[in-house]
């Protein structure tokens, strides 16, 4: 019966409309979370900047710097930290991290480099477990609102194999939040730390004419080199600074990951809401046509019935006439 199809469509539209309400709400929540996550990134900047300055200053005072800074001489074993989210419904956010991680794993496999994998996020745990890729440790329940404590526990997990000489390099694959409009998955070296001395040397050369670089920067570097006091000495200070700098790096990666996650989710949910609207429009049209068809059929039936009746009564009248005439 035609009315049955209409009822099915009506039910379908209603269900799409309620889904749309949910996706719309999720979109709004994600939007507010982006703002919060961005504020947290901004609030964590001073600490990171201060940490970078202290590492630089200490590195200038300790020319040896051990294996904590620069590039590892040879890489035979690495630790890989993949930062994804606990939840889905966020477009390609998790998948792009997995893809980059897989690429890295493959490259390491070709080079004969041993990899110890660490993950953040339930999705990452499930993904790698399903593919039979052993995960040394996975951290859950921190991807939405990472606290510094969370960052500390993650940093500790990747630090200990490095400190123990079990791995030569620690890499992070995570989504960087460059701005509200641009996020990208990036692979970065976490350990050894970037050698800030090399960076500064490059800056001093390139930044000659630019006003952003303090004019006296060359002088003050020389001044600081001789005069800076260290308590305790630069070497042991650097040894203690390293882990803190790693914590700060991990924290920033987690915060940026969270911001990128909410951005991806907002975008995915906005698309879903839009799609729901389109589906409602499409199904409403089909439903209206179906209803129209039923009505047309009914009218045809009534008209046909009435005509059949009239035709019937005319023959009856004719009969009467005949009777009357008889």
């Amino acid at each position: 019966m035609a009315g049955g199809q209409e009822r099915i469509l009506r039910r379908r539209i209603k269900s799409i409309q309620s889904t749309k309400k949910i996706t719309k709400a999720m979109e709004l929540i994600a939007a507010s979370q982006i703002v919060r996550a961005q504020a947290r990134i901004a609030a964590s900047r001073p600490y990171q900047d201060g940490m970078a300055r202290i590492v630089l200053e200490t590195a200038l005072g300790d020319p040896a710097a051990g294996n904590l800074l620069g590039m590892p001489e040879r890489v035979e074993r690495i630790a890989l930290l993949a930062i994804a989210a606990d939840r889905g419904l966020c477009g390609g956010y998790n998948t792009s991290v997995f893809r980059a991680t897989e690429r890295r794993l493959q490259r390491a496999g070709e080079d004969g480099v041993g990899v110890r994998l660490f993950t953040v996020g339930k999705k990452a745990q499930n993904y790698f477990r399903y593919r039979g890729q052993p995960v040394e440790r996975s951290f859950l329940g921190m991807s939405d609102r990472p606290s510094f404590e969370d960052a500390r526990s993650v940093a500790e997990a990747v630090l200990s194999p490095f400190a123990g000489g079990e791995v030569d390099q620690v890499l992070v694959v995570s989504t960087r939040f460059h701005s509200a409009g641009s996020q990208a998955v990036e692979e970065r070296q976490l350990l050894p730390l970037d050698d800030p001395r090399a960076e500064q040397a490059a800056e001093d050369v390139s930044g000659d004419g630019t006003p952003a670089v303090p004019v006296r920067s060359g002088d003050s570097d020389e001044l600081r080199l001789g005069y800076t006091e260290f308590e305790p000495d630069a070497e042991s200070l650097l040894a203690n600074l390293g882990p803190r700098a790693v914590e700060s790096e991990v924290f920033s990666a987690l915060l940026e990951g969270a911001a990128a996650f909410f951005t991806a989710r907002q975008r995915a949910m906005a698309a879903a809401t839009e799609n729901a609207e389109e589906l409602v429009k499409k199904y409403s049209r089909i439903m209206n046509r179906a209803r129209q068809d039923t009505i047309t059929t009914e009218i045809m039936e009534i008209v046909g019935g009435a005509e059949a009746l009239r035709a019937g009564s005319e023959t009856d009248e004719g009969g009467l006439v005949i009777q009357a005439g008889a």
């Binding site: 947290r40 609030a43 964590s44 001073p46 600490y47 900047d49 201060g50 940490m51 300055r53 202290i54 200053e57 200490t58 005072g61 606290s147 510094f148 960052a151 500390r152 303090p214 006296r216 920067s217 003050s220 600081r224 005069y227 800076t228 006091e229 260290f230 308590e231 305790p232 630069a234 200070l237 203690n240 600074l241 803190r244 914590e247 700060s248 924290f251």
Partner: protein, 175 residues
């Protein structure tokens, strides 16, 4: 214009900037011992031991902060400060003290009741583990040591917290 009477002080934790302002002196403890920074101090990088950091303004007012370990950098303001944070029209302090701490609390934010409870709990744990630690156990020795170290750190944290809040910490340790 550089001013040699004041220090620019910045106290930063990973989650936020806890304190920023000027001061006449900053007193804290590094792993090598107590140290006071006055304007014009030579550049220094130091590791801060868990302690109460006192930021003294030029009128003698004091901001006390419980710092549970961190790093301090003292240097000329134009190098150490994050750039144009100080408006050019005001007299900028010539010396900048930046303190980075994983965990730090302003004295006003400390819940003394909670800190006291934590102190008692930590003291009890240290006493318990301190005794247990002396019992020779071949397999589980390191884990017990770790527990003891952790408990001692917790005790120290609670003490620093109470000290910053201006409550005598001695009462808890005696029990």
């Amino acid at each position: 214009m550089a001013d040699d009477v004041l220090l620019a002080v910045e106290l930063v934790t990973p989650e936020r900037v806890l304190f920023t302002g000027t001061a006449a002196q900053v007193i804290l403890r590094t792993t090598d011992g107590e140290i006071t920074f006055l304007p014009g101090h030579t550049p220094l990088v130091g590791e801060v031991a868990p302690c109460v950091v006192r930021v003294v303004a030029d009128d003698g007012a004091e901001v006390r902060v419980a710092v549970h370990g961190g790093f301090v950098q003292v240097g000329p303001a134009d190098v150490a400060s994050s750039g144009d944070t100080v408006a050019p029209s005001t007299v900028a302090p010539a010396t900048q003290v930046t303190l980075l701490a994983g965990v730090a609390e302003l004295a006003d934010d400390i819940d003394t009741e909670r800190a006291k409870t934590a102190l008692d709990a930590a003291a009890a744990r240290v006493a318990e583990l301190g005794v247990a630690g002396r019992v020779p156990g071949p397999g589980d020795e390191p884990t017990e040591d770790e527990g003891l170290v952790e408990a001692q750190a917790a005790l120290r944290r609670a003490e620093v917290r109470l000290e910053a809040a201006g409550v005598a910490a001695g009462t808890g340790t005696g029990v």
